[in-house]
């Protein structure tokens, strides 16, 4: 599932003004790759992710997913945002079953698959609870199970762990890495946390401030089987951090001056 972003721009019209969110951006994300986008707020990284998901269309340019242009909601991706998107009126199990139900899969098989995923994220005992009865971390794990249940080839994640506390974030990052290693899915991960980006990704793409453009790219050679708890103490980690921070910092200050 190669993902090709070809000269994509996005302009919004808001309050009588045209705002350029994204200047022409091009990139190719290979199947099975873990890519992180970092950049200051408003740099268009979430906008690009939304366009890959097909939630809205680029103003110009095109996005090819596996050779086909993304023109409507992209059904080959799973999308996870910082916001809770579990439906509050459905139990955890009903939420995890939802994607399969929508695809019209048989009940028995779906239930088995949902059960397996709920066990994987350690929520089997809570399958009959409603999301509002769970803690933030449990809701994230439920969302992860829902994301994986229909086995999309590509996972788009927009600051998925942003709202979690530091420890829980590490745990979830660890789980995500393990899932990625086990399944070989393509992951596009948006964050503004450099440490998170370096710990997880194979490639970190730095965006400029608004209008967003690609400023810098680093390959992170820390190996596939890395341990999120320890990788940040590796000497190479600091080199990556310094390089990326040097690229990112001026963009953040630019935003402050506006």
């Amino acid at each position: 599932m190669t993902l090709v972003v070809d000269e994509v721009t996005k302009h919004f019209i808001a309050r009588g003004q045209e705002v350029a969110a994204l200047s022409p951006v091009s990139m190719t994300i290979e199947t099975g790759e873990f890519v992180a986008f970092v950049g200051p707020s408003g740099c268009g990284k979430s906008t690009l992710l939304n366009m890959i998901a097909g939630i809205f269309q680029p103003t110009s340019g095109q996005i090819l997913h596996d050779g086909t242009a993304v023109l409507g909601a992209n059904r080959q991706v799973g999308y996870m945002t910082q916001m809770d998107s579990l439906l509050p009126w459905r139990t955890v199990e009903q939420n995890v079953l939802l994607p399969l139900q929508i695809q019209g899969q048989s009940r028995g098989e779906s239930a088995e698959r949902a059960d397996a995923l709920l066990r994987m994220v350690n929520l089997a005992k809570f399958k009959n609870h409603f999301p509002l009865e769970l803690s933030g971390g449990m809701r994230k794990r439920a969302a992860l199970a829902q994301l994986l249940v229909y086995d999309p080839g590509t996972l788009l994640m927009d600051e998925p762990f942003g709202a979690l506390d530091a420890q829980l974030k590490l745990v979830m990052q660890g789980e995500l890495l393990k899932i990625w290693e086990d399944t070989g899915k393509t992951v596009v991960f948006v964050t503004h946390d450099l440490t998170e980006a370096i710990s997880l990704a194979q490639r970190v793409i730095v965006f400029t401030g608004q209008p967003g453009a690609i400023k810098h790219e680093s390959r992170i050679e820390l190996g596939r089987g890395r341990d999120v708890f320890k990788v940040r103490f590796a000497p190479e980690f600091h080199d990556y951090y310094e390089t990326l921070w040097a690229e990112l910092a001026p963009e953040i200050h630019k935003g402050e001056e506006l």
Partner: protein, 279 residues
């Protein structure tokens, strides 16, 4: 109760049984409910008692009758079938009006909420109609539908329509875009989106609209009966007041109050069940 703590590990081992503290807490809560229930009943008994005592001592029974006379009238109505005949007519008009008004209100509310263009085009007209006192429409309905039950159904339906319409409209507008996008990406079509996201999300609003409109449906039917009719509880009350039979007027009012409260209680149960996810 402690689901929200310790989310990291041991999720599987977390005990779900009731400890002594939970039992004590529940016992206290149920005692409290009992006390409140008793006070509730006492208040009713006291009010009726006061009414009985005041009648003939403080106020002339001609104006306020008395609980004993009202009960006597009700007993008579039950025995000779008056109550069943007239209550049936009123409830029939209420529910028919409620059903029609709710269905049309829900459908239009949904369309208006889902399609901005429709809402923009029709908004001033709907607002203008909404501002009309519905009772002013009663003479018109009697001209159109006659003095039979149809005009009462129409009256009731119009009142219910606006309440359900406005609530459904609000509810559909209120659906979070996050849920819509999430379900779209899972591949949902319009119909699935409606069934999985929009209806359940709007349910709270729609149910509120339905709940609020039940008493109004009853009011609509009774107002219609007041205006002109030969059957129904409204007719009974109007007729009784014509001959200064205060006991019968109060008996009619008591029947309406009980009918309204019973229907509301049922709807409250439905609401609690449908919205149990709100915790």
């Amino acid at each position: 109760m402690s689901l929200k703590s310790d989310p990291l590990d041991g999720a599987d081992e977390r005990p779900n049984f009731k400890t002594a503290a939970v039992l004590a807490y529940e016992a206290q809560a149920s005692r409290r409910r009992l006390v409140l229930r008793v006070l509730q009943v006492l208040f009713g008994v006291a009010m009726i008692g006061f009414w009985q005592v005041a009648s003939g001592t403080l106020v002339d029974p001609f104006f306020i009758s008395s609980p004993a006379d009202v009960i006597e009238t009700l007993r008579r109505w039950v025995i000779d079938g008056t109550l069943a005949t007239h209550l049936w007519i009123t409830l029939y008009a209420t529910f028919s009006g409620f059903g029609i008004g709710a269905l049309v209100g829900f459908t239009l509310g949904f369309l208006f909420g889902r399609w901005d263009a429709i809402a923009t085009i029709f908004d001033p007209y709907v607002t203008a109609l909404y501002c009309l006192p519905k009772i002013a429409l009663a003479p018109l309905f009697i001209m159109w539908f006659g003095i039979g039950i149809e005009s009462k159904i129409a009256m009731s339906a119009v009142i219910v329509f606006f309440l359900v319409f406005l609530n459904t409209f609000g509810g559909v507008r209120d659906v979070s875009q996050i849920y819509i996008n999430a379900v779209r990406i899972m591949g949902a079509n319009e119909w699935q989106l409606l069934r999985v996201v929009i209806l359940p999300s709007a349910a709270a609003w729609v149910l509120t609209g339905l709940k609020v409109s039940v008493p109004y449906a009853l009011i609509g039917a009774v107002v219609g009966e007041f205006m002109s009719s030969n059957r129904g509880i409204g007719f009974l009350i109007a007729q009784a007041s014509g001959i200064y039979d205060t006991a019968a007027v109060f008996a009619g009012l008591v029947v309406l109050a009980i009918a309204g409260a019973s229907i509301s209680a049922v709807l409250k149960r439905v609401e609690t069940h449908v919205l149990r996810w709100r915790g």
